[in-house]
């Protein structure tokens, strides 16, 4: 999967036609095969644009910052990114007319070890669902599969699971990179910060990590698109996808196979209801 040429062509076309102020794409980092996001503001930067199997980050995250707010933006989205874009469009965070979306029909990206990333193996929608221009051939919607890590953990006992997560919450340093890197987390004031004693709850104790990560994942339940930007941003390499995939599994199984961002104007699973929703757990 190497669409560098096509993307450069599209970007230069957009700039010559004056359709965008900013183009968001990927750029090669100086070392490794690491790629970083790049905001192209002038046509001179276009040769630096790149797209291949290592373009892992979700660029829709950059639509929430001041640089791109209320500007005409060209953006490159893969399948999962386009679902995120669909969500933030539905939630009125960006205007569709301000965007020029280059949709990529993704064949999966590689993780740090050079293998196909786990979320790509379990991907339900590799094709872009929102796009102005499409690159690659669509491969269609795939069957939903429960995450292997979640399955494995769920088979373990309560105490074992508790110990496993205790370790995770102890390793969290509360840097909030997961929240900052999440395209769905755009609130200007976040509830996990709003504390009378910030020093207390912002500290890197297991208690505050439990509070922050659990609240964060529950506020993303039914909205998370499994792009794993949070995991890539986490300096402690915590398996944050466990929380999201668990929620996704429960929502998929109980609420009419709901998956976030698949359809236009579909808000999260918590914004609608069905009279037949399970309530056997309620006394």
């Amino acid at each position: 999967m190497d669409y560098t040429k096509q993307i450069q062509e599209i970007a230069s076309k957009l700039f010559t036609e004056g359709k965008v102020d900013i183009f968001i794409g990927y750029r090669q980092n100086a070392f490794d095969d690491n790629q970083v996001p790049m905001l192209v503001t002038s046509p001179g930067d276009i040769p630096n644009l790149i797209f291949n199997d290592k373009s892992v980050l979700n660029l829709t995250n950059y639509l929430k910052f001041e640089h791109t707010r209320n500007k005409r933006v060209g953006i490159v989205v893969k399948g999962c990114d386009s679902r995120a874009l669909n969500m933030i469009l539905t939630e009125s965070q960006v205007k569709r007319e301000n965007l020029y979306v280059v949709g990529i029909n993704c064949t999966g990206v590689l993780n740090e070890k050079g293998e196909k990333a786990q979320n790509c193996l379990e991907c339900v929608m590799p094709d872009a669902v929102v796009y102005d221009e499409m690159i690659g051939t669509p491969s269609g919607k795939r069957e939903y599969a429960v995450n292997v890590d979640v399955k494995e953990l769920a088979a373990k006992g309560l105490v074992e699971r508790g110990e496993y997560f205790q370790e995770i919450f102890e390793s969290c340093i509360r840097c909030n990179a997961c929240r900052q890197s999440c395209p769905m987390c755009y609130c200007s004031k976040c509830c996990i910060d709003q504390e009378s004693a910030t020093i207390y709850n912002g500290s890197n104790t297991p208690s505050s990590a439990f509070h922050a990560l659990m609240t964060w994942s529950l506020h993303l339940a039914g909205r998370c698109v499994d792009c794993r930007n949070c995991e890539k941003a986490c300096p402690s390499h915590l398996p944050l996808h466990l929380l999201h995939k668990q929620n996704e599994m429960v929502i998929y199984e109980n609420f009419q196979h709901h998956l976030a961002g698949m359809e236009k104007d579909d808000r999260g699973a918590f914004y609608k209801y069905n009279l037949k929703d399970p309530d056997d757990f309620i006394m």
Binding site: V159, R161, P206, F210, V250
Partner: protein
């Protein structure tokens, strides 16, 4: 697979962490979040009809069960509560027509996630109690208190543990 609740004579052993033991006369604190229109009125009826129920519950009144953000549950468990009881109107009886339908979706996901990270499923419980169900409210509180007593004190991720 749920953890077995062990019982040592004269002591309460926590189901989530067998290392935590409490004296037999230990009393749990249960955070009760009740909807204004049904359950709060129901609990009021329990009181006015002089029905006895355990005093372990600390009641918070909210306008509707859908006002309960999963965050409230997390915060209750993180601060003083050993357990949480959330109660609202029966499905179809919501004062705001559909609030409790939204709420129960969130409750299911919250409950499953808490169980996933190592909380016993009885730590957080939900009920539908109408304004006329005084005796039911007493029964619900008695059951929740009994369940939490069996589970033992909650020490996981407590703010007080920061010393």
């Amino acid at each position: 697979m749920e953890a077995e609740v062990k019982e040592i004579k004269g002591q309460v052993v926590s189901a989530e962490n067998p290392a935590i033991v409490a004296p037999a006369d230990w009393q749990p604190v249960i955070v009760g979040i009740l909807c204004n229109w049904c359950s709060y009125a129901g609990s009021d009826l329990t009181g006015t009809s002089r029905i006895q129920y355990p005093p372990n519950i600390r009641i918070i009144r909210v306008p509707c069960s859908s006002r309960v953000d999963p965050w409230f549950i997390i915060k209750s468990l993180q601060t003083s509560g050993d357990g949480v009881l959330i109660s609202g109107c029966h499905p179809g009886d919501c004062h705001y027509i559909s609030g409790n339908y939204y709420a129960r979706r969130r409750f299911l996901v919250t409950k499953k996630l808490l169980n996933f990270v190592g909380y016993h499923e009885n730590r957080v419980q939900f009920s539908w109690v109408s304004a006329a169900e005084g005796p039911k409210f007493a029964k619900v509180v008695a059951k929740v208190t009994e369940d939490i007593k069996k589970l033992g004190p909650l020490h996981k991720y407590k703010k007080e543990n920061l010393k």
